[in-house]
């Protein structure tokens, strides 16, 4: 298949035609942070955390196919600052109490907070009043932690392709909701998938909380994105041998 040549932060990269920028970067050993992006579903660019600058214009890397000759700025101070602010805003507009959250150590948002050294918020907390939904017998859905990434809406569907989840309300009042009747009949397998696909601690599978000891959780030893970076490092080491 035809290979496309482009640059990320002045590094020469190659990608397959039609590949999204975030995936192409990964294949070239460059980590671009994402929260809403999920392999196997159509990208939607809702979280904006993968913002890059392409030939001088801002764009989201998860929704932009790579094109020949693109010059992309990713880890520049300007872009990192934008991402930092976006991540902070996600923390501030929800109710994220990491110390007691059962997803602590496995949460992508928390992991990005650590990666971006977010120590204290610069924006004021919104403290929204949000509910906990228990319609599905296998799940607890805690909307306090929802970042509206739409992963659940895009990936959790019945046999006819109807989504269990949907957006409710508009603007800053928008929130994810689950169809009550469909939730009651959701299979355990689908519930497990919904919990797995949630990047934060919003969709929680009952009976699994805190079962992984501290030290063995997803991000206890490796920061988010390190698998992409380490893969590149390993490849370079092999080359040197």
């Amino acid at each position: 298949m035809e290979k496309i040549k482009f640059q990320i932060d002045n590094k020469e990269c190659e990608a397959l035609y039609g590949q999204m920028l975030v995936d192409a970067a990964r294949d070239n050993g460059i980590y671009i942070p994402t929260l809403c992006n999920m392999q196997g579903t159509n990208p939607c660019g809702s979280c904006r955390v993968c913002t890059v600058k392409i030939n001088g214009r801002y764009a989201t890397a998860c929704t932009t196919p790579v094109a020949c000759g693109m010059e992309i700025e990713s880890e520049t101070d300007e872009i990192q600052e934008i991402r930092n602010a976006l991540i902070e805003l996600l923390f501030n507009e929800g109710n994220h109490f990491c110390p007691t959250c059962e997803m602590s150590g496995n949460c992508d948002l928390q992991a990005l907070g650590y990666r971006f050294d977010i120590m204290a918020p610069r924006f004021s907390y919104q403290w929204p009043k949000r509910a906990v939904n228990t319609d599905c017998p296998y799940l607890i859905i805690d909307y306090n932690r929802c970042i509206r990434c739409k992963r659940c809406i895009r990936s959790i569907k019945d046999e006819q392709g109807k989504s269990y989840f949907a957006f409710l309300n508009r603007g800053d009042k928008i929130e994810v909701s689950i169809d009550t009747m469909m939730a009651k009949n959701m299979s355990k397998e689908l519930a497990e998938l919904a919990a797995k696909n949630c990047p934060v601690g919003s969709i929680l599978l009952k009976g699994t909380a805190y079962k992984t000891p501290i030290g063995e959780r997803k991000y206890d030893k490796n920061r988010i994105g390190s698998c992409v970076e380490n893969a590149q490092l390993t490849a370079k080491m092999e080359e040197l041998k």
């Binding site: 110390p99 906990v132 228990t134 607890i140 000891p213 501290i214």
Partner: protein, 482 residues
């Protein structure tokens, strides 16, 4: 002209509190109170949360003994998932016990060496510039290092069992989430001195001796300072042995007569009620059968050594016998003997840790068990400061409907107030000027209980000491700040 004295906040305790002392026209103490001035909201804001969050959420009450809350909540949730007090797997129960004994060991060490020892080593009326933990480090460096290392050992035990030294996640409903690794076990058993359990036992024996020597030299002060009769409560093992993790409720009176015995944890509310008073955020628990006036009781090390029949480890039992002989087998009602009892418990914890560390069940076996789900659970544990109650009711959708926490310091509310009153009357009656020494004497009485006011109230903030005198018109006439 009547006066009002305020000590605010009380220092070298965990949390925030103030003392007010009212004097009449002849400078006689008419009333003294320990006020807990911060609001706590944990019982309310856990409502609606998934029940399994409780052990991790509620432990955030405190950074000193979060393990006690973590385990009390886990014990309550065990019942909600259908696992009785004896239904855990051997690994689950023993890992939790190791966590708990590590917790009590480190918390008692912190209290005695860091917070209270300065009063004993320098005297409660010594210069406050030296009468503090820095003074202890400067003048008794070996003792200070011992205190620091003992606390560190307990904290490392907590980390190995709960995942973190503070606010871990080890105990989950129905068990524990990890085994002890061979490396962790060997670290505690075979590390070079001082970080091994044998050294901890040696140091604990020495700490008990330190207090006994001090007592021999200051018998009058130790025996008579804020000494008054009271009832005593704790959980004890079915055979009457001291058991800090699991047991049945026992209450004895000041003469040793049994008031309550073999009370199942889930029945606590049939025997205990809490009174609310307008001047404090901390409630006043009492025994229903005896009423508010006579039903108050003490909890903590002093109470535990008064309620148990024996201590099931040899060295601590030996010290227990000496301790009991001092009061001819009767309950000990001497406030400052709480430190003695606390040090005997430190020794017991060290021995228990050694016994558990040598138990192969910690290294292998099932971690979790389950049963038939229910909607209500009560977990009672002997926290460092005394009996701790966690009571939860759960909705059918697994969210928490009701939580009631009676923390150790709350149980000691009335005794602490009585101790304050005792010291205020004995030291301030007839005095026109309140000195720093008098002020500290009041705190020494409170400090004997090792109160965790942050635990009882979820307090935050600095703890400067301030004392104010008011005249009858409520005008400030004198003020001292530390």
């Amino acid at each position: 002209m009547s006066k009002k004295i305020t000590i605010e906040p009380v220092t070298r305790v965990e949390g925030h509190g103030k003392v007010t002392i009212h004097l009449d026209e002849n400078n006689q103490v008419t009333q003294s109170r320990l006020h807990i001035v911060e609001f706590r909201g944990f019982e309310r804001f856990v409502q609606g949360r998934p029940y399994w969050e409780a052990p991790v959420l509620v432990q955030r009450l405190c950074g000193i003994c979060p393990v006690s809350h973590h385990l009390a909540a886990a014990k309550a949730l065990d019942q909600i998932i259908g696992v009785g007090p004896k239904g855990l797997t051997a690994t689950g129960e023993k890992m939790r016990r190791l966590m708990h004994y590590g917790q009590v060991f480190q918390s008692h060490s912190l209290h005695f060496f860091h917070l209270a020892s300065a009063d004993l080593l320098f005297g409660y009326d010594a210069d406050p510039k030296t009468r503090n933990v820095i003074g202890v480090i400067n003048q008794f460096p070996d003792l200070a290092v011992q205190g620091v290392m003992m606390r560190k050992f307990g904290q490392e035990i907590i980390k190995a069992t709960a995942g973190k030294k503070i606010h871990g996640t080890g105990a989950i409903p129905g068990g524990i989430n990890k085994h002890l690794s061979i490396e962790e076990r060997d670290f505690f058993l075979h590390s070079p001195d001082p970080m091994n359990v044998d050294k901890m036992i040696d140091w604990s024996v020495a700490a008990v001796q330190l207090f006994k020597d001090y007592h021999a030299q200051h018998t009058d002060f130790i025996d008579n300072f804020a000494q008054f009769p009271s009832n005593h409560m704790s959980i004890v093992r079915e055979d009457g042995a001291m058991d800090l993790y699991n047991g049945l409720i026992r209450v004895v009176d000041s003469e040793g007569n049994i008031i309550l015995d073999k009370i199942e944890n889930q029945d606590y509310h049939k025997y205990i009620e809490e009174e609310v008073k307008t001047w404090s955020y901390m409630k006043f628990p009492y025994l229903k059968s005896l009423g508010k006036e006579k039903g108050w009781y003490r909890v903590g090390p002093l109470a535990r050594l008064n309620t148990c029949d024996f201590i099931p480890t040899p060295l601590a039992q030996k010290e227990f016998e000496i301790y009991k002989a001092y009061t001819n087998g009767k309950p000990n009602n001497m406030c400052l003997h709480t430190h003695w009892a606390r040090l005997i418990e430190i020794l017991h914890c060290a021995e228990m840790m050694k016994e558990l560390l040598n138990d192969p069940d910690l290294l292998k076996g099932d971690l979790v068990t389950t049963g038939l789900k229910g909607n209500e659970g009560v977990g009672i544990i002997e926290a460092p400061r005394g009996t701790l109650f966690h009571h939860y009711k759960v909705n059918d959708d697994d969210t928490i409907k009701m939580a009631n926490l009676i923390v150790s310091t709350t149980n000691n509310n009335e005794p602490m107030n009585r101790s304050v009153n005792f010291v205020a009357k004995s030291m301030m009656n007839g005095k026109t000027e309140i000195t720093e020494a008098m002020m500290n004497a009041v705190e020494v009485a409170i400090r004997a209980y090792d109160p965790c006011l942050s635990c009882a109230t979820h307090a935050i903030g600095k703890m400067p000491l301030e004392i104010k005198m008011y005249n009858a018109e409520n005008n400030l006439i004198s003020e001292i700040k530390s």
